[in-house]
């Protein structure tokens, strides 16, 4: 069994060479013939979460899975919906100015750069801060690190840590495993340059959301296998981790917002180099060799087609002897994390994640 997966991994590595070629024309490729979400929105969405999701149709959101990538990237994001709800609540949408940022390149492609988040408290203390390397979501096709500004900003502030939010080349211009290659390269670069930013590279952890949660876990595996600095912890927020299309959450949250099950097929269509990639252990993480990983924290939303990914990954990690805590928050959906100013479940999840990372950093 393990041999089979290794063969799949080697094959996709070879195809990975082809994935290096940039193809912006693919942005126009017609969407795959997918069964679109005909099921109603699942019940049980809490009122505060609903107040955010209700902004999406007001912002003109269309079903992503029916769009070509160029159109899908014009769509409002969950962060746009959150900002609209924040403004309508009479609060400021301006990013928290006590955390400052700087963009730095880690590679030659314009997308190979990172945003360094420095907490205000970093100035003048002299003592090096912990380092957190973070990967944004968007199914490897949509969104960018600006759309996922809230999480790294709040983690930098609440952990008093240097947070490096990694941008990476997106699909379909660059297909799998270009994103995984960039994630690993950026991690090595961040550890190497940490001291210059006032961070301590021996106190490093990984975090990510959705597709970025998958990248965080894979980068921890990469560090284990390539003698890079070993992260003290991995925070995976609703990661992509299981390629089984029959998972319970794929059905019970098929019509959820802002992520529905059809979108997962859409992401796969545009991000994978071939159908065999689904079996690659980097995507189907539940079948990867997970032994020797640091403690892992997994955050899930109840109403999310990726909920079962997190739950089955927690089992797989325990089976591999890894210390793991997984929590599923009720009444909330995909993308709820870092919406804590409006959504109670998000506030609770943020407290949980921060407490786990503080423990990992010895704070």
């Amino acid at each position: 069994m393990r041999v089979e997966w290794c063969v799949a991994g080697a094959a996709s590595l070879m195809i990975g060479g082809g994935a290096m070629a940039q193809s912006p024309a693919a942005l126009n490729d017609a969407p795959p013939a997918l069964p679109l979400a005909t099921t109603a929105t699942p019940r049980g969405v809490a009122g505060d979460m609903r107040s955010v999701l209700e902004q999406l149709p007001l912002l003109g959101a269309r079903p992503i899975a029916a769009l070509a990538p160029v159109e899908a990237r014009l769509e409002p994001t969950a962060a746009d919906a959150y900002n609209a709800a924040i403004r309508k609540s009479g609060m400021s949408v301006a990013p928290d100015a006590t955390v400052t940022t700087q963009d730095l390149a880690y590679g030659a492609d314009p997308m190979q750069y990172a945003r360094i988040y420095r907490p205000g408290a970093a100035a003048g203390t002299g003592a090096p801060l912990p380092l957190l390397v973070y990967y944004h979501g968007g199914g490897w096709v949509l969104a960018d690190l600006t759309a996922y500004d809230a999480t790294p900003r709040l983690l930098a502030k609440q952990l008093n840590a240097i947070v490096v939010s990694v941008e990476y080349r997106r699909a379909p211009e660059f297909r799998f495993p270009a994103q995984h290659d960039d994630a690993a390269a950026a991690y090595g670069w961040a550890v190497q340059n940490a001291a210059a930013w006032g961070a301590d590279p021996t106190r490093v952890a990984l975090a990510g959301e959705s597709a970025g949660g998958n990248l965080a876990l894979n980068t921890a595996l990469y560090a284990r296998d390539h003698a890079l600095a070993r992260p003290a912890h991995v925070l995976a927020i609703y990661p992509i981790a299981n390629s089984d299309p029959a998972l319970p959450s794929r059905r019970d949250s098929a019509g959820a917002a802002p992520l529905d099950t059809a979108m997962l097929g859409w992401f796969a269509h545009y991000s994978r180099s071939n159908a065999g990639d689904a079996a690659d252990p980097r995507l189907n993480l539940v079948r990867a060799d997970l032994r020797g990983l640091p403690p892992v924290t997994i955050v899930n939303a109840q109403i999310d087609p990726l909920r079962s990914d997190g739950e089955t990954l927690a089992q797989a990690l325990r089976g591999a002897g890894v210390s793991v805590q997984q929590r599923t928050y009720s009444g909330v959906t995909h993308e709820f994390f870092a919406m804590g100013r409006l959504v109670r479940g998000a506030y609770d999840a943020e407290l949980f994640a921060v407490a786990r990372l503080k423990t990992a950093f010895g704070l």
Binding site: N28, L74, R87, V93, A94, A147, D244
Partner: protein, 161 residues
């Protein structure tokens, strides 16, 4: 495992795309590009009314000039391609973003403007790159490529802010 692999193959078959690209129509491209330029002018004018930051001011002035030039280049290209240019109108998202800018003052408006600019330019760059790579009207395609090069420079300028 074999069962899982079978399902994957099945899923792969279902997700096979129809042969050939389905590029944006010239009219749709012009609509989205026109909305983007209109948003740039409205947002940049608003931040210029309040900012005291020289970097923000210089960037906003550059946006006013470059996006006016981009709109003019597209109008000329559309005339050559014999495509009618639709009247520019903000999308609902852009209307909300202008409302957010209006609700902020001082440094908070500057920071909101820069954050919005990063998102708006990521969207606009994809739009013009995609049309330059796969558009159907040759004159518009060429203009899209030139505009994408200007937007790529804006993206780099935003990284320095």
């Amino acid at each position: 495992m074999r069962a899982l692999a079978g399902l994957m193959t099945l899923a792969g078959a279902v997700t096979t795309a129809p042969a050939g690209a389905q590029a944006m129509s010239p009219a749709r491209y012009l609509e989205a590009a026109g909305a983007g330029d209109l948003y740039e002018r409205a947002a940049s004018q608003m931040v210029l009314e309040s900012t005291t930051d020289a970097k923000v001011r210089d960037f906003a002035r550059m946006m006013l000039a470059d996006h006016a030039r981009g709109s003019a280049a597209l109008r000329a290209a559309a005339a050559r391609a014999r495509v009618r240019v639709p009247a520019a109108a903000l999308t609902r998202l852009q209307t909300e973003q202008i409302a957010e800018l209006r609700a902020e003052t001082g440094l908070a408006r500057d920071a909101t403007y820069v954050a919005q600019q990063r998102s708006a330019h990521a969207r606009a760059l994809t739009l013009h790159q995609a049309y330059a790579a796969g558009g159907s009207a040759a004159a518009l395609k060429a203009a899209a490529g030139r505009i994408a090069a200007v937007l790529a420079r804006h993206v780099e300028a935003l990284k320095a802010m």
